[in-house]
């Protein structure tokens, strides 16, 4: 059983801190995704776990073993790279067998095991091919088989899908996830695609500037973002400035947003009292204008609208000029349906409040 522990990991190049105190315990068998924008330190953290980068301070534990000072080739990991990194002069069979040969496995074992793993990734019968004779998706499957066949303690993947085209990417998600579940391999998966992260992971760590901003299950991160940054990086969110008014009798916090009162959950306290309201487009109500807005409501007009079958997206400009995006699902009758229509937007208790400073 390999529980992965990252303890106070810091990494700096010169006076530039790439990783700032990363702490995380990842249970055995978890599909753990590092999600964040370019340059936030995802690759660096992954390479710290692999051993290609030594942390400036802190420790990496695989189960009970402290591997901080263990050379990469002794860590028993598997890696999948963005550019596949297949050995171009070796056949698919020899690529997959590479790790087994390094472990001095008998040729008989290898002849049994390689086809088994090629089948797992849907490439039975491709053993004799050279990497150059395969498509991108097929190459990445070979890379996956090559990494998994050694039964690594940790599987590390750095944007393995970003060289593939969109439809293949979705298909490969399933391949990777089902193999990971089948082998129950602790996995760290790096991506900057939030949809990928939400679809595949047991846990998502949203990174920003060398820190993990928030970590949790996909639905938890989506429903309960602790910061404005997480709310807009995972899924989309309307962010409107809010002023804290106080608590109602039932203990719910009340805010003033654009002159109307809205109540909702406060995710964390702002020291300076300045908040942002987080409203997911699908959590907002929209109806045809029918008089002055009440509590928790704001008026505006439809700037554009896109009908997409099962859902409709609205871009609404409020009276004070702020932009709000709204999505409705299913029947749209009863809603305002034309460009330029006056509408009323209603906020509900699903709206969240986060400190403005957490953007």
């Amino acid at each position: 059983m390999t529980e992965l522990n990252l303890k106070n990991i810091k990494k700096s190049y010169g006076d530039f801190d790439v990783l700032k105190d990363i702490n995380r315990s990842i249970p055995h068998g978890t599909f753990f995704t590092l999600l964040g924008p370019s340059g936030c330190g995802k690759t660096t953290l992954l390479r710290v776990v692999a051993g290609f980068v030594s942390p400036s301070s802190g420790a990496v534990h695989f189960g009970q073993q402290d591997v901080t000072h263990t050379a990469p080739h002794l860590r028993e990991i598997g890696m999948v790279f963005q550019d596949y990194a297949l050995f171009p002069d070796k056949s698919v069979f020899d690529n997959v067998a590479y790790g087994l040969r390094a472990r001095k496995k008998s040729e008989r074992d290898i002849r049994n095991k390689v086809p088994e793993y090629l089948e797992k990734v849907g490439l039975e019968g491709f053993g004799h091919r050279l990497p150059a004779e395969m498509s991108g998706g097929q190459r990445q499957r070979v890379a996956l088989a090559r990494a998994l066949i050694v039964e690594p303690r940790v599987l590390l993947m750095d944007e393995p899908l970003s060289n593939l085209d969109a439809s293949l990417r979705v298909q490969m998600r399933d391949v990777i996830r089902s193999l990971q579940l089948e082998t129950n391999t602790t996995t760290i998966f790096v991506t900057h695609d939030q949809e990928e992260a939400l679809a595949m992971s047991d846990q998502i760590a949203v990174m920003k500037d060398g820190r993990i901003d928030q970590c949790g299950a996909p639905d938890d991160v989506y429903r309960n973002p602790q910061t404005a940054y997480v709310s807009s990086f995972v899924g989309s969110a309307n962010l409107l400035p809010a002023r804290y008014l106080g608590q109602e009798e039932n203990g719910i916090d009340t805010y003033e947003v654009n002159g109307t009162r809205v109540s909702g959950r406060t995710m964390s306290k702002a020291d300076d009292g300045r908040y942002l309201m987080v409203a997911r487009p699908e959590n907002l109500g929209i109806r045809k204008f029918s008089g002055p807005a009440g509590a928790g409501e704001l008026n505006g007009h439809i700037q554009t609208l896109q009908f997409q079958g099962y859902r409709t997206s609205f871009h609404v400009v409020l009276e004070n000029g702020a932009d709000v995006y709204v999505e409705t699902f299913g029947e749209t009758t009863g809603h305002a349906t034309a460009r330029g229509d006056e509408v009323t937007i209603s906020f509900n208790e699903k709206c969240l409040f986060v400190p403005e400073a957490s953007r």
């Binding site: 080739h73 790279f81 963005q82 550019d83 990194a85 297949l86 050995f87 890379a143 090559r146």
Partner: protein, 546 residues
Amino acid sequence: MNRFLPWGLLSLVSLVFLSVFVAYPILGVLLRSFLGETGGFSLNGFLIFLTKGQYLEALFNSVLLGVTVTFTCSVVGVFLAFIVARYEIPFGSIIFLLPLSILIIPELISAQSWIMVLGNNGLVTNLFKAIGIPFPRFYGWLGLIYVMTLTFYVHIFLAALAALQGFDHNLEEAGLSLGTTPLKTYFKVVFPAIMPAVLSAGLIVFTLVVGNFAISITLGQRVPLLSVMTYRSFISELGGNPTMQSTLATVSILLVVAVLFLQKRYISKRNYQMVAGRTPPRKKLKGWKSFLASGGAGLIIVLSLLPALVVLIGSFTYSRGPVMYWGEFTLSNYARIWDFNMGVIFNSLKFASLASALGVIFATLVSYLLVKKRNVLSTSLDYLLLLPLTISGTVLGIALAHGFNSGPLVLTGTAGLMVLAMMLRRLPFGVRNAASNLHSISDSIEEASVSLGVPPVRTVFNVVLPLMAPGIAAAAILTWVTTVAELSASVVIYQAGQETLPIQIFRLISSDLMARASAFGVINMLIILVPVFFGIKVMKVKLFSS
């Protein structure tokens, strides 16, 4: 445990090697040029250089020869490149022999063969004499410019051809559609576009001419040249005061450094690269134009390859002293080699194979360290590797001979020094080739291997070296070719019993024994040709890819 240790250690070893065998001897030459008769600091050497007319004259001649040959090479090279790139000529397919010809025919043999044709006892000279027409003296400026042009134009031809083939035909058509005549279009659009390539190749030709030894000394007896004078001062001063030869060597180093500097400035300033565009279709020519184009190109090609033929025939020709009896065939020239001179062949094979093996291993190692494992020593290594480019073979020979004839490490007179000299001359090119090879191998391939449990050093052997193999083979062949033909450095440092084929040929030419020299020449060319042929045909090595 420090996992960076093996690479750091290897970098250090490489650095020490280059410091001891390149930097130290060259520094010695520079310092000795400031040494007075009594041993203290003195500018006497430079004073003599500037005041005694012969030295300044030699410098002037060398530069003049360099400029002239660069110009003639540019004319010939660009002309040929145009015809090959744009027109269908009947024998277009044998053009690929041209780059091979500079490999297979060493410049010494080229000079020798032209002496056999146009020299004092030359075939054509005697023909003219028989008819009664006076033939111009070949030794001197005429011969130097003629032979050097035929030897070095290929550099410019290849550069211009590559530039022309990469030139976007659309631009040319745009020029034509704006109403300019084809000829004007060439001058206004095409020439400026290929100019940078031609110029940088031209600077290479210039340094080759200025540093040239073999052709200069065989054809330039009447023309004082810097490289020949440097060699002569070494031969005559051997054991005596080394100031003057060091001064001459320093001057030629400065000359080359100046040119390299110029090249760097020029290239970095005008580095607009042509987007590889549509290659224009080759046109068919008709009438006198066709005659001119294919005739001109054909003449150049024939003249480039003729030396091999002349030497081949010469080697089977009966001779007495300097007099060749053309048409009377004999095997005696080869028989003499078989009876007396097999050692020369063995020397060449021994030195060249050691130098090639050593050079390729070292170049592969250093390029790997420089590309994949950069550390604090890398920049110094980069600079040290540039040093051999700044010195001609003659200067390298002098530097090594003086650097290691006393002190803690005495190598003068050993075979090791011969091998070292041959290896060092090719090293910068070897490293450059291997490095460009390595740049195309992604780092993640190595990391993939390491992550699968293979230690870093074994990873290099498992996955990097197999990918470098074609490049290494090409480098090995090119190193072999240049070391087997190496004359200018080895002729400075060789001792009795260490004669190589080029040295032997050089001595025979000096004694005007052309038939015997020819036999050695044929053997020399064969030794070059066999691995080249084997590499291209059997191993499918691409010699001219980078």
